[in-house]
Amino acid sequence: MALRELPLRAAAVFSRDARPILCAFGSSLSSRRNASTDALQAVETSSSFTGSAAAVEAPKDFDPIARSKARRRGKKYLPPSRYQYRPPKYYRGPFHPHQPPPEADPASRLFQPGPFSLPRLDQTYQSTIASDLLTLTYQHYPPGYRAPVQTQRLREWTGDSPYYKNRPLRPPRGRGDELRLLTEPRTFRNIPEITGVVVHSMIPEAQESSAYLHVGGMVLQAITNVRAESHRARNNVLQWNLRKDKWVSLTSTIGQEDAQHFLSKLIDVVLPKIKEWKGVAASTGDGSGNISFGLTADQVALFPEVEVNYDSYPPKMIPGCHITIQTSATNDKDAHLLTQAIGIPYYGKFKD
């Protein structure tokens, strides 16, 4: 069966380019009768969401569990091997007859449920912060202004060698080894936003006993809602007592909804509880829109998820952590503005 279907599938793949032309012809022939014409007429024109309450009469004693039990009384369960669909474990290419379902299908092995809520921080961003940032970072150009032509920042390979053709361009001269990101003119399409948060925890004690790493992983998982990933030391560093290839650190990379919830928790619950804290140093930022700061072990213990069962964690094993807020801003100035708008306090002088 599967083998018989294969040529059809292959034909469909190859004729994909020709299809729009057919469609263009098809749309002009309105009198043509398709297989779906009858079915279309059977479809209800009104949505169930707009329908009145009277239209839907709820059977009050409807019990799905009892119904299913009554239906299979005295019978055996359906054999799961035949009636329960399992997607293929491996992807075997586009021509294989057994294709995995799309990732958004709950039957897929890669399916991740969510979103579960509409985060408050996200709503504030959409309704208030984004438009304010657009107003604050507006750059006026007089009508008729034409932006100067940007010159190529990378150097070309000049010479006679035929290998220079199509070779990637050379970096600029000098010691600065990386080019800074370009900041495009600000429009409503490129307002900086939070793209993710990385929580990183370096635990040198874990070289002696792995318990530190396990406890740290539990703490990070509790506060970020994401399983922590552990890392080995890449180098020997004598001063830090660091030995190569030992497990020393943990990271949790959060995105989307989790990142929003984590940040609002941090800003509204944890940071106000810290005593004698000056704020985040204004010198933070990597030049391309990522803001980092650290929390000590005592401060991490202020997260509500840790506080609720503080006694479950072995004493003095709760780690401190570094938090990196990733934004879509391309420079530190915009990233500072955005993080200030969501409520992160800074101290010191901004250097941007």
């Binding site: 969401f49 839907v56 709820a58 409807f62 799905p64 569990i65 709950p106 399916f111 449920p113 969510g114 979103p115 579960f116 809520s117 509409l118 408050r120 709503q123 504030t124 959409q126 309704s127 208030t128 438009s131 304010d132 107003t135 604050l136 507006y138 750059q139 006026h140 150009y141 007089p142 009508p143 008729g144 202004y145 034409r146 932006a147 100067p148 032509v149 940007q150 010159t151 539990m218 609720v308 069962n309 479950s312």
Partner: protein, 355 residues
């Protein structure tokens, strides 16, 4: 090298007063980049010259400053029924797919918390407190859809469940009373003093609809908490507009906006004017027929440039206003539409936020 920059600046200064400061800045800034490319330096003069508009010296518009003073939304918005149904569906899916709750990490065996946990889980079958009575594992996990008329996906219902959980430990009020009554009866029979179990009362969240909403008090800032509210004032001519005034000479738009706020609402307001650039403008044209008979036929009308401002605290006090304002209102976008004239609305509507 710097010839291009010099020329541009000189041209800009020759153009007279028509070039504003930010334009001048942008000209000088952009010419750094052009100066870097020596090959294009002769091009620079052609590129960045601001157009010198040849306006006839006589006819002109008066320039006014206005303030778009707004109070941002204070609470999250109500979810559409489809959204809340979708979120509940995804939560129940998660319940089926996630690893089970690590019970002994949170509740140690044979502790009061563990007993309470057992009682709760017996009732709601799942550690999650707000997805209703549903178990993600086992034979009946497929039964994750709500029946018609079920309340579980509604926000108020979920809030109630959370509060109930915090107060009673998930026992239904009726059951709890019964259990207490039985225990008391047993204690009375045995001759012990009856013990009354008092549950800690958890503070309810503030209602999402306030008193001002119920009364329809449009002067209160404590209304329509889910929406952005804009300040509208009633001028001498009886029309509702955003607060505005003429620019006193050599005043920037921002300074004018701050002055208008103080003069119209008094000093009892904590406001923040955003940036130095306006967010929109309203152009009032005098009709051609009226213009012919007007005293000054060269005055074509007025243009009002609106600065965006936020109110942080305080309230407008019209007693202190020196602009002759009769009344004020705090309105959301739709209400602004019905309060102002159509032409005014047409020109200001894109400044106002949807929510």
């Amino acid at each position: 090298m710097n010839a291009g920059q010099q020329t541009t600046r000189r041209l800009a200064s020759k153009a007279g007063n028509s070039v504003c400061r930010s334009c001048k800045d942008s000209i000088s800034r952009s010419s750094y980049a052009t100066a870097a490319a020596a090959a294009q330096s002769q091009d620079a003069t052609q590129q960045n010259v601001p157009p010198v508009t040849a306006t006839s010296p006589g006819q002109s518009y008066a320039v006014n400053a206005g303030v778009l003073l707004s109070r941002p939304p204070q609470i999250t918005r109500d979810l559409h029924p489809f959204e809340s149904a979708f979120f509940l569906y995804q939560r129940r899916l998660n319940e089926r797919l996630a690893l089970p709750f690590t019970r002994y990490f949170y509740f140690k065996k044979r502790t009061p918390a563990d007993l309470e946990w057992k009682r709760k889980i017996k009732q709601r079958l799942t550690p999650a407190r707000d997805i209703g009575r549903y178990k993600g594992y086992g034979e009946e996990a497929w039964n994750d859809e709500l029946l018609v008329g079920a309340q579980e996906s509604e926000f108020e219902h979920q809030v109630e469940r959370l509060l109930e959980d915090a107060e009673h430990g998930a026992e239904r009020p009726g059951e709890g009373e019964n259990a207490d009554a039985q225990a008391n009866a047993a204690a009375a029979e045995a001759g012990r003093p009856t013990k009354k179990v008092e549950h800690e009362v958890v503070e309810r969240p503030m209602p999402r609809i306030t008193e001002a909403d119920k009364k329809g008090d449009v002067k209160s800032l404590n209304r329509a908490l889910q929406r952005t509210l804009y300040l509208l004032v009633k001028g001498k001519d009886g029309k509702w507009t955003l607060p505005q005034d003429v620019i006193v000479q050599r005043e920037t738009l921002r300074m004018a906006a701050e002055r208008i706020l103080t003069q119209s609402g008094g000093v009892n307001m904590n406001t923040w004017v955003l940036g130095n650039a306006p967010v929109g403008h309203y152009q009032h044209d005098i009709l051609p027929e009226t213009l012919k008979t007007a005293k000054n036929p060269n005055n074509l009308g007025s243009k009002t440039f609106f600065m965006k401002a936020r109110i942080m605290a305080g309230q407008l006090d019209l007693k202190q206003n020196t602009m002759g304002l009769a009344d004020f209102k705090w309105l959301s976008k739709e209400e602004v539409k019905s309060a102002v004239e159509f032409d005014y609305w047409r020109q200001i509507k894109n400044m106002l936020a949807e929510r």
